[in-house]
Symmetry: C2
Subunit: 371 residues, 2 copies
């Protein structure tokens, strides 16, 4: 095989009407709507509806959708028991992977006619799973996950932190969920489609998506960006030390992108939110630190910050522990995954590529006593 096709880079593995990424090197559209307009004007629930059902809801549809999601927040007793059995030091992505798989045994998708229910159920239940486990292992509390918060963003922050968020935090989380919701044939979505193409159930597909997003080459860059920025107390220190890291050819996470060539259109949006939240935050210097690193990377390497970079400080300002950053990605991306699973099912062919063989030629079996 040619080296250029390794990783299927540039090879079309299917068709999609859900999203375009990187047209002109810098744009993102969900079903034709630009990410800038969605992040400025829409709610996450509107975007979830758009991705899953193809069109923006009208106000009656949106009201019904919000109520449906609110009613689907509860966790069955057997699932709560499973979550309580997961050790405190577990990678939180493994918690969601296991919780998703377990819910699939308790409320199986018996028929594809149930696919919208399962998608909505997982969308509503992932924040509950994450918060229930997190609060149980950190404080021993068995929290009530059936809050009356209207938005998923508010529910998420409320259950994770135990306090109803202020509107600036709630809306920042809402926007972050919009930004992370969908990104075409990225690796985790592609896993969902490979799985869906065998006509497996939606829980299997999304469990596979979570496991794929868990990898450090995919999700997790915002956690690594956080680990970087929290090492510095001032912008000057960040500039000096990151410059030294570049000298030593160390990798700086949160910059550049496989698909965007000019800029990541999501960066400016989340940077604005990080700046806004820093005004009232502890560790407010992390915004200035982030800006100093962004500027340095542009000057020294010509690299732009991607969505993950300022998501780190924004999440931190909202009081979210770093280990939960990638699971929040799941709480959002489940919408894109489910939309792709539905789309794959609608025009399906088993995804079964070939391989270039590089192993030994035929060789005769040698009985064990002659080896």
């Amino acid at each position: 095989m040619s080296d250029s096709s390794k990783g299927l880079r540039g090879i079309e593995a299917g068709s999609t009407a859900i999203c375009t990424v990187g047209a002109e090197g810098n744009s993102l559209h969900y079903r034709g709507y630009s990410i800038e307009e969605l992040a400025a004007q829409a709610t996450f629930e509107e975007v979830a509806y758009l991705l899953l059902y193809g069109e923006l809801p009208d106000s009656t549809q949106l009201k019904a959708y919000i109520e449906r999601l609110q009613q689907l927040r509860g966790l069955p007793a057997a699932l709560r028991t499973v979550l309580e059995k997961i050790p405190a030091d577990t990678h939180p992505m493994d918690v969601l992977r296991t919780g998703c798989s377990m819910l699939g045994t308790l409320e199986p998708e018996e028929d594809f006619a149930q696919q919208d229910f399962v998608a909505d159920r997982l969308l509503a239940a992932f924040p509950s799973m994450l918060a229930y486990w997190h609060r149980f292992v950190t404080s021993g509390q068995r929290i009530d996950v059936e809050t009356d918060d209207e938005s998923l963003a508010g529910h998420l922050l409320h259950t994770l932190t135990g306090a109803r968020p202020g509107e600036d935090h709630r809306r920042c989380m809402d926007v972050s969920l919009i930004l992370y919701a969908e990104h075409e044939f990225n690796a985790s979505t592609f896993t969902c489609r490979v799985c869906a193409a065998t006509l497996s159930d939606m829980y299997s597909c999304i469990t596979g998506g979570i496991g794929t997003l868990r990898g450090p080459l995919h999700g997790g860059a915002n956690e690594e960006a956080m680990a970087l920025i929290e090492r510095f107390d001032t912008a000057e220190q960040a500039r000096t030390e990151v410059a030294a890291m570049l000298q030593r050819k160390e990798k700086i996470m949160g910059f550049g992108h496989a698909v965007y060539k000019v800029r990541d259109p999501r960066n400016a949006i989340i940077r604005g939110w990080s700046k806004q939240l820093s005004a009232d935050a502890d560790n407010a210097h992390l915004y200035a630190v982030s800006e100093a690193i962004e500027n340095l990377m542009k000057e020294e390497k010509g690299l732009f910050a991607n969505l993950d970079f300022y998501s780190a400080s924004a999440y931190h300002f909202m009081g979210i522990p770093t280990a939960l950053f990638t699971p929040l990605f799941v709480c959002s991306r489940v919408t894109g995954w489910a939309a792709h699973i539905k789309e794959q099912r609608g025009d399906n062919k088993l995804i079964r590529p070939g391989a270039a063989y590089t192993g030994p030629d035929h060789r005769p079996y040698v009985p064990i006593n002659n080896r």
Copy 2:
């Protein structure tokens, strides 16, 4: 995109030294050794070692490997609790998917240096998980899964049925595990590689593989073959009624193959075993029924039986409930999956294909009150 590349058919998605499938339309080799020689002369443990470590073991290595696998059969208490919480009517593939994910929280792969341990652990533990859950939900027993059976095949039949198997049953299972162990870039293995390419952990990859194998277009054909053959009391009845099904253009499962064009080399092997076991079996007529259907399909449609077709009667003769057929596939294929995950990690590039966009052009956002 061209219709021919849909499903990535014929497109090389990577390189492998593990297996060739379908050279000359009819052959299968694991690391250069023909499936016929392996099934006739090797044990499953030898084949697992070959797939995972690249070469057949010598007798010292094999002895150590068998002992290692024997020591890894136990299930942690938290995992047993989780298995007990999974309802009796759950798809058994969902049990293994959840059990695999849960074990990943209890014994995480902290570093790729542990990958061989995790592969061996899952290989040894899947039969235990399956049997523990199956016996618990069917009879309320909490069985001891740490048997002293030397082979995985013996352990599997012993724990599933509660009785130590006779040598013919044990060796038939051993051969079946060899036949199902590996098959190049099939859909579930490809899922494992897409997941592995983000540098995620082995539990995530294999959890995704299980979910993908669960789909009726991939695993499960042997279960459907069983559902077909058990409808008939005689070979004559099978011939008449399957001919009528073909007239009605109904699909007959267990025939033809996406990659083999001439014959499935595994079919003759498992057919021989099914015939041998039928001599002492209840429902021995199912062998003659299977033969009648195989002959008819050849005559009428020019289609050959694949591995799944006679696996159905062979498993049935060993006393295995039909719902557990696809999970047995997991107990074997975990070796191929793990070998591919190791190989992907050894020369990695993120697998991120492109997509052909078929959705709406850019459209302006319309505020909700104007919709």
